[in-house]
Each structure stands twice: as C-alpha cells, then as structure tokens.
Point group: C2
Chain length 357, copies 2
C-alpha cells in the first residue's frame, strides 16, 4: 500500500490522463508499426489551459498508387486527446450544476472552474473491428478570487468537484465474444470499487448512447457516468450508495482502474479483427453504421454539442470523433431482416440492449 | 386574367405542390435518360394525411463492374417529397405559434392543424455541380370540432394560416455566374410580388443557413422565409410592409412564382456542370463539403430536428436530405488558403456572404 497522495486532485488528474494518453497511443502505434505515427498537436487555450491532441489520419497522396498503399493501415481515423483547462463558468452553467451538487446550493452568478479530461474515439478500417469511444474527466468549481489577489497561480477554495466518464463499443458486425470481453474487462476493473458500480453505469450507458429517432443504441454499450462525488447520487439510491466509492480518493482510484482497463478491454479485440477478410458489401454496411455514429454525435452527444456551441471552442478537437467517411441510404435494404443476415443480427441487439456479463 | 379560385387554400396548395413535384422530377429525369427513374413511394400517416416521396438513388450491384457503370449517373442522391398532413398540435407548439400570429392570441391548449408542403434536396455526383435545396409549405390552424360533429371531412373555422419556404444553393466550387443565375432567377420571380421580397428573404436565407460552429454559411444562399400571412411581419417593418404580398391570394401567387422558378433557376446550372472533367482531389473536397451539409442539417435545421424528434415521424423521409456519402478530416489542408486555391475561394465567400444580383 502506498500512502494517499498529498498533491491536489487537479494535479493528480492531469498527471494521470497524460500518462494514460501516452499508454493508449503507444499501444495503438505498436499494433501497426508500418503506419504513420499519431500526430501530436499541443495547443493553448487563450482563456486558460492547454491540451494535447494525438490524431491518426492517413495523409493524402497525389498518386492513386501511393494512396492505395496507405489504405492498408489498421486505423482509419483516431483521436486521443487530453485537455486541462480553467476559466469562468457563466451563471446559466452554474445554475444547471447546482441541481447535482448540494455544496453549490447557495451559489449565484459565475464561478471559476477547472477541468481535466481524456477523450478518445478510434475508428478502425476493417468492418469487423469495432469503433470505440472512452472519456474520463475531473471537474472542479472554486470560490471566486477577489480582484487584486489574481495571480495566475491563485486558486480559491474548492466548492464542488466530480468525476465523469465511461467507455463504449460500436461494432458494425456482432461478435458476441468481443462484446462480452469488453464488458467483462470493464466489470472486473469496476467491481473492486463497489458491487453497484458496473450494473449502474452499464444501464446508464445503454440509456445515454441511444439514437431516439432510429430506435437503436449507438453500439453494444459499456459504462457511462457523470457527477460522481462524495455527495449522494441519484443513480445510487438507498443501499446502492454503500456499494460505490464515496471519497475523492476512492473515486479517483476507480477512475484509474477504468482508465487502465481501456487497453486490455479493446486492443485484444482490435488485434483479433483488424485483418479479417472483407468485401465491398461489408464496407458499405460499415459506412451506413458510421452514418448512425454521426447522427448520434451531432444530435444527442452533450459533449459534442457543448463543444460546438461554445464560442472559441477548438472545433477541430470537438469534431475529431467524426469518422473519416459515412454513408446514408434511403430505405436501405441492409439490416432490416433480423436473424437472416449478419447486418440484421446486430440491429436486433441495438434495438434491445443485452446483458453481456 | 383568370378569376380567383373559389377552392379552399388547402386544396389549392395540395394541387400546386403535387404538380410542382411532378414537373421537377420530370425535368431531372429528362436530363439523364439512361439513369434509373426516381422511385415514387406513397405513404399514409396513421394520424392523418399522406405523402409521396420521389427518390433518386443508385441501386447496389453485386459486381464491381455493374457498380462502376452505375456511377455515371448525373445525380448521386435526390429526394423530391410532398406531404399533406393534418392532426392536432400540442399546447407547446400552439404557444410558440401565438408569438407570430395575432389571430391566435386568445387560444390556449391544443389545436387542429393542416400542412401541405414540398421539400427537395438534390445532390449531383459531379463536384462542379452544386447541391440544391428548396421547400414551400402552407400551414393552417383551425378551431377544434366539438365531439360528435367529428366526421372525417368536418373542418373548423380557420384561425391562422401562413406560408413558408425558400430555395438555396450549395456548391463545392464557386462559379460566380451560377450563383448570379440562381439568385437572379429567384429575384425575377419575386420582384413582381413586391420590391421588398427578394432583399428580405435573401438576407434571412444568409442568416438561417449559417453553420455557427464553423463560422461559414452552408452555401451561397438564395431565399428563406416563414410565417408569411396577412398579419404584420417582423421582417417587413414600416414601409416594407407595402412592398410585399399581403393577401392570401397574393402570397400564394408569390409562392407559385417561386416554386415555378425552381426548374429554371437550377436545371441550367446542373446541365452546365454535370459532365465537367473532375479528379480525386475535387471529389475529396466535395465530400468534405458534404460533411458540412450533414453538420448543418443535424445541428441547426429546424425541419430536420423537428422531424427527428417527433414521435412517429417517417425518419427515412426526414433524413432524405443527407448526402449519400460525406467526409471529415482533422485539420484538413483544403480550403484554408483564401484566394490561392479554388477550395479557398469558396470558403471565403461562405465566410462573408455576398450580394449576387
């Protein structure tokens, strides 16, 4: 056992997501040594903070021969980004947050905030290899600093803090063993932190990543959570509250366990499927599913919408989650025939989310 | 001069949009006689009403040779739809409409409505041929019919009615003469109906079809309007009110003039550009612009969002506006270099909408 860190959580969170980003990018690069490396792109936010984008995309070649050679990469497009930002939340945002945080009940007006998070989306090229998304973040609001005290390093008392995040898998073709492996790995990481954690966040994930206008889930789920702190949480009512981490240190330990589980939850699946023999038909279905991914992200995803509608947001980072290409067909003949095709099989699972573990 | 029709406006509107749909589809089919015809798909709305979709899409072939032959069509994907529906507006929708219609001031609760509209999106295959969108609709709310009087044909007194619509052009490459032709044709159709019509609706169009998170217009504009009736309209303040049609008959005459202008405003442009020699680079830019089209439609377009979020809506008709394929690149090298490339030139115009006539 090591003794609890005495560093402020801001710093611990920043250090953890930086290391996790590097681990994930390294694992992906190792899997495909002949592909171009991820492009690291560090940026500063004029209003405060910084970020580091690590992006995979295949450069465009002027000759079709060179272009074809590039099409052999395992990944089609991927972004593994971290951002560590601070600034001032407008009154409307503060008001919205009061609902979930008792410690903010008497706060009016705007408030300083700090946020550190990692966010990733990986779209592999092979239609048998699933798209994956994960995101872990720490958020803090603090008391305003009086005018004159405002040194860059000055920081008011923490008023509220919370963690959010999750990971979810979006296959175009269903491999039950992949879905089970992904969920099992997350569950095994979560279980030591409380028996209610996995079932609660699994259910929340199925609810969140749902494309209402299609009546389908985006993928086969995983975990999703938000506003987890030492105050009571509406998703852990009654006795469930004792079956989840309740201190900042315990919650951060769970976050690290889930973050560390990303590589073992996903890389073995990618490795298994990335060289599967495929054809035009399967690629067309993958493109149609990418269209659904775009629909979810632009219509429902809170993070994407928040990013797009925030003045001064870095739009290229916000929309890194988009697939390289997507497709829409009117009344497509694919996917509507239930058990009679591989396309129909996954649609059935998306319409009725399953327990995988 | 013919004498004014004595038919109810519902019926006149339905007849007009049906004929306009047929005229537009015929013009498009004539342009490309070897392509498969539009697929006519009529549907009934269980809650009341009907529609007729006319959709162009290239069927999928099992051999890549047959598929390649199909790739020679002028159009890539197109939908020209009409719908004539009636039902009951929920109280929230009624409340929202009261703001624009004095005749609804004292109305509370839900109300019967009738809507007849034509809506079209045409995505040609050649990157030099622009995408076009147009939409014309008539809307009516009526007094509720008392229980017992409720024969299918029974209809209460009209409480409020209005027209809305417009047309706009979205090129991937800028041809100033095309933009000027499109705007000039619309302006010439609008001018006999009042000098304020074109300038007012042109400006409204530039404001409406704006992708805020990109700081770019969707295309080079056209006309856009809503809530036009015999009551005062906030877009025609003061003296402008005398320079626009103000009776139901006069407004419907303007709608017909604009609807009839669709074919001459667009088909000559399509004819000019549809066989332009092109290459992979231009197709890639077209795909990136299609991505922007998707972003606008899913994030900002009221009609699309209303359709997607309405329970029981026909989602395939709502999302017919999607291009067949679209593309997203992180920090694309295309379009950011101003006057130095054809891609940069159109981005400049999208950032600063121009007067074309």
């Amino acid at each position: 056992m090591t003794s609890p860190s005495t560093k402020p959580m801001r710093q611990q969170a920043e250090e953890y997501i930086s290391k996790l980003q590097e681990d994930i990018v390294t694992a992906l690069e190792k899997l495909d040594p002949n592909a171009p490396p991820f492009k690291r792109d560090s940026w500063l936010r004029p209003q405060g903070g910084r970020g580091l984008s690590a992006v995979f995309a295949v450069p465009h070649s002027s000759t079709s021969q060179a272009a074809a050679a590039m099409q052999n990469t395992v990944l089609e497009k991927a972004g593994v980004n971290i951002s560590i930002v601070h600034g001032v939340l407008p009154p409307a945002a503060v008001k919205q947050m009061r609902a979930d945080h008792g410690s903010m009940q008497n706060i009016e007006g705007s408030l300083p905030f700090f946020a550190a998070g990692i966010s990733l989306v990986i779209h592999p090229r092979n239609p048998h290899a699933p798209t994956v998304h994960a995101n872990y973040r720490y958020f803090e609001t603090t008391e305003p600093i009086a005018e004159g005290q405002g040194a860059e390093s000055a920081q008011g008392k923490v008023l509220a803090w919370w963690f959010g995040g999750g990971a979810d898998l979006t296959p175009a073709y269903l491999y039950e063993e992949d879905a089970a492996h992904f969920h099992r790995t997350l569950k095994e990481a979560a279980d030591p932190h409380g028996a209610a954690v996995y079932p609660t966040f699994k259910k929340w994930c199925d609810e969140y990543f749902f494309i209402k206008h299609r009546g389908e889930a985006r993928g086969i789920g995983g975990m999703f959570f938000d506003d987890v702190c030492d105050e009571p949480h509406k998703r852990f009512p009654g006795e469930a509250d004792a079956q989840r981490p309740r201190t900042q240190e315990a919650i951060f330990a769970m976050i690290r366990a889930l973050g560390d589980a990303f590589v073992p939850s996903y890389i073995p699946i990618l490795e298994r499927r990335m060289r599967t023999l495929t054809n035009e038909h399967e690629k067309r279905w993958q493109q149609l599913r990418r269209g659904r991914y775009v629909e979810f992200n632009l219509v429902y995803d809170r993070g994407t919408l928040f990013g797009m509608l925030t003045p001064g947001a870095r739009i290229e980072s916000v929309l890194i989650s988009m697939p390289e290409t997507a497709r829409w067909e009117y009344m497509s003949d694919l996917g509507g025939d239930g058990e009679n095709s591989e396309e129909g099989k996954i649609v059935q699972v998306l319409r009725t989310p399953k327990e995988w573990v």
